[in-house]
């Protein structure tokens, strides 16, 4: 087994500011960046703040930026770097720092609450749901999401534009709207909820200009842009410009 000493630069600080701190730390065969951060905690910086849980790419807790790129620390193998490289680890840039590598990801929880939940179909008892595999697979792809928020972090609509956060749900939650919209049994429209329209009007779908940055960083390899956001845009556009839909919405409005 081979071992070497790596150079790490880790951002340390809190809401009041901070700086990159240099460390020299042992690296062994097969290790990932999170192992090295843990070694720093155990040997050099016991109060180094970092979030992590499963260490297997399943929970989406250990998101950070490694050499400027949003990644899961537990799925970034040290073998992708040259032993001579200086590895820089910084907190997610789109969210306010709490301490060291921990950021306040409250934005995402706020947005999650703004997406109306699944609407169960009336008159279908539990146990009576029938769906074909091919029909559930579209939404299943989006439900692979581990909520690491890397897509939210990298999306240029909010990455350096704090002012857009109010109007824009971000790729993860626009994808959630798409997931519900494609759910074979979601009864939102029967309940008077037009998910396509809300994507556009309430969740800021129009801000997305399909640069696919979100898809690139997704550790689950979900095709966020191609399979969720573009189809949602197409559907929203269909509704907006379909004269029949337009007429229908006028008539309904007059009734109420």
């Amino acid at each position: 087994m081979s071992t070497y000493d790596a150079s790490f630069r880790v951002w340390r600080g809190d809401t009041g500011g901070g700086e990159l701190t240099d460390f020299t730390v042992e690296v062994n065969d097969g290790e990932v960046v999170l192992d090295i951060i843990h070694r720093l905690q155990a040997t050099q910086a016991p109060d180094l703040a970092v979030r992590w849980n499963c260490k297997a790419g399943k929970c989406g807790s250990c998101s950070a930026e490694i050499n400027g790129r949003p990644r899961l620390m537990c799925m970034t193998r040290m073998s992708v770097f040259d032993p001579a490289d200086v590895i820089t680890v910084t907190p997610l840039r789109a969210f306010p720092v709490v301490r060291d590598l921990v950021t306040d990801v409250g934005f995402n929880y706020t947005k999650a609450r703004e997406v109306p939940a699944f609407v169960p179909p009336k008159g279908v008892a539990p146990g009576e749901y029938r769906m074909q595999q091919i029909d559930v697979e579209r939404s299943q792809e989006f439900r692979k999401c581990i909520e690491c928020f890397l897509c939210q972090d990298t999306c240029h609509v909010v990455r350096d534009h704090e002012e857009n956060k109010g109007a824009f749900a971000g790729p993860r939650f626009l994808m959630r709207v798409a997931e519900l919209d494609m759910h074979p049994l979601d009864a939102a429209s029967e309940a008077g909820l037009d998910r396509k329209a809300t994507a556009q009007d309430e969740h800021g779908l129009g801000y997305c200009n399909i640069t696919k940055c979100c898809t690139e960083v997704c550790p689950e390899h979900i095709k966020i842009t191609d399979n969720a956001l573009i189809p949602l845009k197409e559907r929203a556009a269909d509704r907006k410009y379909d004269p029949l839909v337009w007429l229908g919405s006028r008539i309904r409005r007059r009734d109420s």
């Binding site: 290790e31 016991p46 749901y129 299943q140 439900r143």
Partner: protein, 642 residues
């Protein structure tokens, strides 16, 4: 009087995994104002790591399945030590709990006729596990999380406040359950981000904190699994049940070292994967124990035919319950027939086309590719046992999930004991979470509503809890000049000791050695010091968690030393066979320390007192589900003729 924030709730749920969230949903729907408090972010709980599925006898794939068959399999898997009423409720209610998830938006894999698909798993007679590829736990957590959000959206409409009746305190930790006399009065907590203390005053507390795996070195468990709920219950005066039973999952990754222990789902075997030793032999055929002889294939040919024609063939022995497979792997490696990295081979590459593997086992494919450079569609995986689950836990009433001896305290999920007996079947954990999470939430809400007056919070308990939590900041170096202890070092020593001395195969001498080591660590842990301040300080958090891990580890070691037989997740090299007389014995761990963990404990006697208790006789109609010939293997003579 300590100045801190206090809030009043009807029910406080500790833990936001499957059991905690299901309990919270139920309590809130029964009208209780409910607070959930969890160590991680909402939606990150350990439940996301469950891969294979949720066991429920819906009979969608094989209509021969029903709750009685599921009950039978569960009792066999647990070697009849299960709290049988829990096993019965679990088998009866699991299908409803799964169907309910669909009404909250869950999307399971489907059968050709559009129902929920079900897959084979170890110890289950029929295909029984509802699943979503190999990420079922994520689907479960996300569905429950989204149901919580939908309840909050209702409250927003009604009260203008998302958190009017259901609030999640994320990244917060409970260090003490507070009581007035015998009854629960609340919980003492700290917020990880700020280090700030606060008290949730509530007459009912549901513990749903999961397991204890972080006391072992090789484990599939995340950092959160430090036995918090087990310790909180002990410290509050509730006993733990049968803590010697710890499940070592047979297939964890063994290479590279940094991922050692990460789980390789049993679905790999359920879907056709086979185990081979370094000589290429499918060794499991040599390890079928007598109690299971009639139920498993005797030849590879028969085992292979079973996947296509389960009605006329017996299942392959790779699908024996987990304890059997883990011991077999251990024995093969010990006999020198292991792989280069000390495991055995688990192979699907020669059994299924590559594209089927990628579809059915996507996260396993991903995990091996990215972490070990192994393409499981082309080569075999190397796997070995990893600490996975604790069957022991808080002793509860079967129907209500109420902890014994402490009114107002409830427990559900892995932290509760009894349901799985001496060994849990794969897939029975997620169903357990749902069935008993719901029951705990229901009865906690009813209990809270039934009280005429709420138990008062005792200020002295709050002061003491605050002082206890702050102690690591003022740890004193001992007089002999040795330094303050590093909590990370103590944790590593604890994990090594439990792994080596109270692991998968146990010996009397080693367990005595473990108890001495635990006593030493307990003394040193009192001097564990931390650097820095209270804001998001992992060293401090670990120093506090050590108390819980040490308490729980002592329970495991003492109970394991006491039980002089081998059964399920407890294997004694010096007592290698199952003893029918022990089937009727529950071992209860009580806190023996009158200061409730505050004073330096006596190193010899430790903090735990063991009490033997006779189990309730199994109800006659449930016993009659088994053949007499089978019961003879488990039950003592007098039980058979009663």
């Amino acid at each position: 009087m300590t100045q801190l924030e206090r809030q009043q709730w009807d029910v406080v749920v500790v833990g936001a995994g499957g059991a905690g969230l299901r309990a919270a949903i139920e309590a809130r729907e029964r009208g209780a104002r409910t607070a959930v408090i969890c160590k991680s972010l909402f939606g990150k709980a350990h439940t996301v790591m469950a891969e294979g599925g949720i066991a429920a006898s819906m009979g969608n794939v094989n209509s021969g399945d029903n709750w009685q068959v599921h009950f039978r399999d569960t009792m066999r898997g647990g070697k009849f030590l299960n709290q049988w009423r829990m096993a019965e409720l679990h088998a009866r209610e699991a299908p409803e709990r799964v169907w309910e998830l669909e009404t909250w938006g869950a999307l399971f894999d489907r059968t050709a006729d559009g129902r929920i698909s079900q897959r084979n798993f170890g110890g289950h007679e029929y295909p029984r596990l509802a699943h979503v590829g190999d990420r079922t736990g994520l689907e479960l957590i996300r569905t429950l999380q989204q149901k919580i959000v939908s309840l909050q959206q209702e409250d927003k409409k009604e009260f203008g406040d998302y958190e009017a009746r259901l609030k999640v305190f994320q990244e917060c930790t409970v260090t003490r359950v507070l009581k007035e006399d015998e009854r629960v009065s609340g919980a003492f907590c700290y917020e990880r981000e700020s280090g700030r203390f606060f008290v949730l005053e509530a007459p009912a507390v549901v513990l749903a904190t999961g397991g204890i795996g972080k006391s072992f070195k090789v484990t599939s468990n995340s950092w959160e699994y430090t036995g918090d709920g087990h310790a909180l219950a002990l410290l509050a005066g509730a006993p733990l049940l049968n803590m010697e039973f710890v499940q070592f999952h047979p297939t964890g990754m063994v290479w590279p070292p940094s991922v050692k222990g990460i789980l390789v789902t049993e679905s790999v075997r359920g879907d056709g994967g086979v185990l081979r030793n370094s000589e290429g032999k499918r060794f499991m055929f040599d390890y079928v124990p007598d109690v299971f002889k009639e139920k498993y294939a005797e030849s590879e040919e028969e085992g292979d035919r079973w996947y296509e024609d389960p009605d006329h063939n017996r299942r392959p022995p790779e699908l024996l319950p987990r304890d059997e497979v883990a011991r077999a792997i251990n024995a093969e490696v010990k006999a020198g027939r292991g792989t280069p990295h000390g495991g055995v081979f688990l192979d699907v590459s020669t059994r299924m086309p590559a594209e089927v593997i990628r579809r059915r086992l996507p996260s396993m494919y991903h995990q091996f590719k990215e972490l070990a450079d192994v393409d499981i569609t082309a080569e075999a995986m190397e796997v070995g046992p990893t600490c996975h689950y604790v069957m022991g836990g808080i002793a509860v009433e079967s129907d209500t999930a109420a902890a014994r001896g402490v009114p107002g305290l409830f427990a559900a999920g892995e932290v509760a004991g009894g349901m799985h007996g001496s060994n849990r079947l794969g897939g029975n954990s997620l169903s357990d979470l749902l069935v008993f999470g719901r029951r705990a939430g229901l009865h906690a809400a009813e209990y809270a509503a039934s009280l005429a007056a709420r138990p008062a919070v005792d200020e002295i308990q709050i002061d003491t809890a605050a002082a206890e939590a702050l102690r690591p900041f003022s740890a004193e170096a001992p007089e002999d000049g040795s330094p303050v202890e590093n909590p990370y070092t103590l944790h590593q020593e604890l994990q090594q000791a439990m792994n080596d001395l109270v692991g998968i195969i146990r010996r009397e001498g080693e367990m005595h050695q473990a108890l001495r080591k635990l006593a030493e660590l307990r003394m040193r842990a009192r001097r564990a010091g931390v650097e820095g301040h209270r804001q998001f300080n992992p060293g401090w958090h670990l120093a506090l968690d050590l108390r819980n891990m040490l308490l729980v580890s002592e329970c495991v070691a003492r109970a394991a030393l006491e039980r002089t037989e081998s059964r399920g997740g407890h294997t004694r090299e010096d007592w290698p066979s199952m003893d029918r007389a022990w089937r009727r014995v529950n071992l209860l761990c009580h806190l023996a320390d009158p200061t409730e963990g505050l004073a330096p404990p006596d190193s010899e006697r430790g903090q735990i007192r063991l009490v033997r208790e006779e189990t309730d006789p199994i109800r006659a109609d449930l016993l009659s589900l088994f053949e007499k010939e089978e019961l003879v293997k488990y039950l003592a003579e007098e039980e058979l003729y009663e």
